[in-house]
Symmetry: C2
């Protein structure tokens, strides 16, 4: 983990950029917490360590990390954009339309689909996002009547 920051620092240095305490704080929060945080969430948590930090700094850090491929911007239908560490992995989410719970799952069955699509479309596919929308086990009983057939 500490190596992670060394790497990031080197990566930034190559581009004449710096890993400031603020940026490190933002990154640490994203890496530590395996959730999907909004900019505001990150702002709140960062202020615990840096009370003077500005929201704009959060956005600028997130933008930077996104360009570096360290962080991914996500967008579930709720309007709020969220961020998560992009560790080279693709995103697989289960989104409960009632309580808003967002779970993740791992699945490798997509590999062959990936290849098929790439071959047929000519796209160079770098990553993907697969989201299943529905109701989680806690909420689904409430919505049984909505599901026809």
């Amino acid at each position: 983990m500490q190596k992670m920051f060394t790497d990031v620092r080197a990566l930034l240095k190559e581009k004449n950029l710096r890993l400031t305490p603020q940026r490190e704080a933002v990154l640490k929060i994203l890496l530590d917490c395996e959730e999907h945080l909004t900019a505001e969430d990150i702002y709140d948590r960062t202020r615990a360590e840096y009370p003077e930090i500005g929201l704009a700094t959060i956005y600028r850090a997130l933008e930077l990390f996104e360009e570096l491929g360290l962080v991914s911007k996500l967008d579930f239908g709720d309007g709020g954009r969220r961020y998560e560490p992009a560790l080279g992995k693709d995103h697989h989410h289960l989104i409960c339309m009632d309580c808003g719970q967002i779970a993740e799952f791992n699945e490798d069955l997509l590999g062959q689909l990936h290849e098929t699509i790439a071959r047929e479309s000519g796209f160079l596919i770098l990553n993907h996002s697969l989201r299943f929308f529905g109701y989680c086990s806690k909420c689904k009983d409430k919505h049984k009547h909505e599901v026809e057939s």
Copy 2:
């Protein structure tokens, strides 16, 4: 297609709502054009027929149609929300990160994945969104150097 509007009119009538010319225009534009339109796009096109229409009306119509399940709100990472007709089908998109082209593809291999996920997670899955991000055949040469390994 004409039957479509009759159906929608009936569906609305059940709820004491009306299929006004404005709403019909919005729906027609979405159904006609198999693209992913922003609210602004729809606004512009609708004004050809209804120059006095307001953007708020577009949003309200889209919200209504979404509640009725006729239209889906999409969100590609570009910040702009887009809409497409929801004909009960799931969404499979290929998004070019360079030129922004968004293509669709059909794929049934997801069926078994769907079942596996549902069984293991307990989720009641209603639909899903699968997006592959990368570069389309026209743009990919420009980005070859970015792709490591």
